[in-house]
């Protein structure tokens, strides 16, 4: 009698799909990272022993994970003036735990990291890395992380650009450039800074440039961006410069010009057709009072909570709507505690009335009251 025991027939072997782990180091099978990458097939992992690897590397197949055995403090991939890490057209690849640096860029294609991911949905990943680039010559634009196509995720990274050219030729660049379409750039928990001591105008120094294509989406969580420049006139310092859908959460963004340049901390182009900025501090300062915390054209986006700081103004264009966005005003002014006064002059409309200043949507009104405040 059959009591219901299921009898299997056919191939019930558990299948495993094996990747190969390849080790890189002076005493390992591979002594250069590139030789290990060249040997990889999709699904492999390359583990890199601590050390300084003065080489330029290019991923050659999809789905390869490149990890430091140590940490970015002791595992370094570096070039003086050449592209260092290229994902090429690959997707599903990971770079984790390295310092990746260009120490003396002298050309505008000396990218620290380059990705031209040709997959419509798969990402490349950069995690727990310190990405640094530096130049002492005039370049524009110098780019740290250049994403020419495809999706990219950056997580727990420190991205630092240092431009020390101090002559009169325009010099600037972008820490991160997300280019062409369509693609998604996700950034979590990163610390992104640029210092540019050039004193010229007419170029940009930017944290994240989400460029050109209205279909390129930027998502930014819990990230600190600080852009410090010494530019003049039209040198625009921008923490976020975007033309695609843009979502920013719980971040701190600042653009500071120590001379007469024009900081525009968050620049929203006309093509920003969706997005929101949530609970984010946006600060802009310059010495000649032309800074803008937010500059927007006709794009559509909401700003929810958060605040504007510094001496920058709010220039929302025609498509940006703010909900609960607070300006750098003392709440005490808003509630009539500080600076109460009496309007002067007899014969004017409000003469003799007591008032307190209150800033509403960027305009300071003299709010009249009839007694104590």
């Amino acid at each position: 009698m059959d009591h219901g025991i299921v009898k299997a027939s056919g191939n019930v072997t558990l299948k495993s799909i094996a990747g190969t782990v390849r080790y890189v180091g002076p005493s390992c099978t591979y002594t250069t990272i590139q030789s290990a990458l060249t040997a990889c097939v999709a699904g492999d992992t390359v583990l890199v022993m601590p050390g300084t690897y003065t080489e330029a590397i290019t991923f050659a197949v999809d789905n390869v994970t490149l990890k430091a055995v140590g940490d970015y403090t002791n595992t370094i991939i570096t070039q003086a003036s050449a592209q260092v890490v290229s994902f090429s057209t690959m997707s599903g690849c990971v770079v984790e735990g390295f310092t990746v640096s260009v120490t003396a860029a002298d050309g505008t294609t000396d990218y620290v990291i380059y990705s031209n991911n040709d997959d419509a949905t798969a990402y490349n990943y950069v995690k727990n890395c310190k990405v640094t680039f530096a130049s002492s010559v005039a370049l524009y634009p110098l780019v740290g992380i250049y994403i020419n196509d495809g999706n990219m995720e950056l997580r727990d990274c420190i991205v630092t650009g240092t431009m020390t050219y101090a002559g009169t030729t325009s010099s600037g660049g972008f820490c991160i450039l997300n280019k062409v379409t369509p693609s998604i750039l996700d950034i979590w928990d990163c610390n992104i800074t640029m210092n540019n001591s050039t004193t010229d105008g007419d170029v940009y120094s930017v944290g994240i440039y989400n460029a050109y294509a209205s279909a390129s989406t930027l998502n930014l969580w819990n990230t600190y961006i600080s852009i410090n420049v010494a530019g003049k006139t039209n040198h625009e310092a921008k923490a976020v410069f975007t033309y695609g859908p843009t979502y920013i959460y719980n971040s701190y963004l600042e653009a500071i010009d120590s001379d007469t340049g024009k900081p525009r901390c968050v620049y929203l182009g006309n093509e920003v057709l969706a997005g929101g900025i949530y609970n984010t501090t946006i600060k802009a300062t310059s010495t000649d009072n032309d800074a803008e915390c937010v500059y927007a054209g006709t794009g559509i986006l909401g700003i929810y909570g958060g605040q504007l700081l510094g001496d920058g103004v709010y220039n929302p264009g025609t498509g940006v709507t703010a909900y609960g966005l607070l300006l750098k005003t003392s709440i005490n002014a808003g509630y009539g505690v500080v600076s109460p006064a009496t309007t002067g002059g007899s014969g004017t409309a409000g003469s003799g009335n007591q008032y307190f200043p209150m800033t509403v949507n960027g305009i300071t009104y003299k709010i009249l009251h009839d007694g104590t405040v």
Binding site: M49, G51, L309, L326, S330, V360, K366, I367
Partner: protein
């Protein structure tokens, strides 16, 4: 005879500078973490197999990374009553993926972490990542200090911290303390601090951080201090008694005393010219007798609050306080609805310009004289 100069072209630097990886575990070349450290040179990495390592370890070279192969769930470095991980004067070192614990501290110097980093630039930071740091005491000691940090640059990322004293006569609790040192820069990302002190009578308070120099940056973290104190002790997330600068972003701070001890919320700034910038934090300060403060500003200190939410507490101190977009406790906030000009001749406010503003839920017609 050949004379002349030797013309060297090209890049003659060594192509790679290698570090060594050492494994620690029951069946590995090294069975203790300390024996692997002792064998290490700068630039090396130590990988530790899962297990409980009842040892005290001391970093003895710069630029040494010690990582758990597993995670803090299964890889534990512990001492009952001694300093567990000592960074000494080393810099550029990493500790990742461990539970590090002092389980029964019986002296003030039983630190979970100790460091006196002699590096002088921000890229020499020692980094503690993805660790659970525990400091527990049942003894009557003066200070329960999880991390004694005396110098240099430090970074804490994705860590969980538990500091607990269960002795009613035991002393202060700290996560990080630097009273006798001069740390340069501390960066804290995404950490969860939980400090619970049962001590009831001391005049000395509980603090997550105590600094006096350098810069302390805290992002996206939670700080929770629970004190049972009934005396005049002053408890706060951060004690800054000298010239240090504090920047704290998008974090949640709660300082609670179940007794009558003074609670000072986000910071107790001493009389010196320290600065604290606070951005978008929620701050809850509460005790049993209702005199809680959310900030104390010493005589020449400056506190800038940008968009904070104060759940409970008032401000105190003679220093400078600048509140930008920080409502007082109980305020709901205000919102501009629309603007216009009142109509009708003869009415009280006829012809006046106004903005409709919702204040604490009620729409008020606020008149203005001129847009200044």
């Amino acid at each position: 005879m050949l004379k002349g100069t030797l013309d060297i072209k090209g890049d003659l630097r060594p192509k790679s500078v290698a570090g060594t990886v050492r494994y620690v575990g029951a069946n590995c070349a090294y069975t203790t973490i300390q024996s692997a450290i002792t064998a290490s040179s700068a630039g090396d990495t130590i990988l530790v197999a899962p297990g409980t390592y009842t040892e005290a370890i001391t970093y003895s070279v710069d630029n040494l990374t010690i990582k758990a192969i597993g995670s803090y769930v299964d890889t534990i470095i512990t001492q009952a009553a001694a300093t567990t991980v000592d960074f000494s004067t080393m810099s550029n070192c990493v500790l990742e993926g461990f539970t590090v614990s002092v389980t029964a501290a019986d002296g003030d110097a039983d630190y979970t972490l100790y460091g006196n980093n002699d590096g002088t630039t921000s890229d020499t930071a020692n980094i503690i990542k993805s660790c659970k740091l525990v400091h527990t005491s049942t003894a009557d000691i003066s200070q329960n200090i999880c991390a004694e940090i005396l110098d240099g640059y430090w970074e804490f990322r994705d860590c969980k911290i538990v500091v607990s004293n269960t002795n009613a006569s035991g002393g202060q609790c700290f996560f990080m303390e630097s009273y006798s040192g001069t740390p340069d820069g501390i960066k804290v990302y995404n950490c969860d601090f939980d400090i619970d002190n049962s001590e009831t009578g001391s005049a000395l308070g509980d603090f997550c951080f105590q600094i006096k120099t350098g810069t302390l940056d805290i992002w996206n973290s939670k700080i929770d201090i629970q004190s049972a104190n009934t005396s005049t002790s002053e408890n706060a997330a951060i004690l800054n008694y000298s010239t240090g600068t504090i920047n704290i972003y998008n974090s949640s701070v709660r300082v609670v005393s179940s007794g009558s001890a003074s609670t000072y919320g986000i910071a107790w700034l001493g009389a010196a010219a320290s600065i604290c910038n606070s951005y978008n934090n929620s701050i809850n300060s509460d005790n049993s007798d209702g005199d809680e403060k959310w900030i104390n500003i010493g005589a020449t200190a400056t506190f800038n609050s940008y968009g904070d939410t104060v759940i409970s507490g008032v401000s105190s101190g003679a220093g400078t306080i600048n509140l930008y977009n920080t409502p007082k406790a109980g305020d709901v906030g205000y919102q501009c609805v629309s603007s216009g000009t009142t109509g009708g001749s003869g009415s009280a406010a006829s012809g006046k310009n106004y903005v409709n503003v919702v204040i604490n839920g009620t729409t008020r017609k606020l008149f203005y004289d001129t847009a200044a």
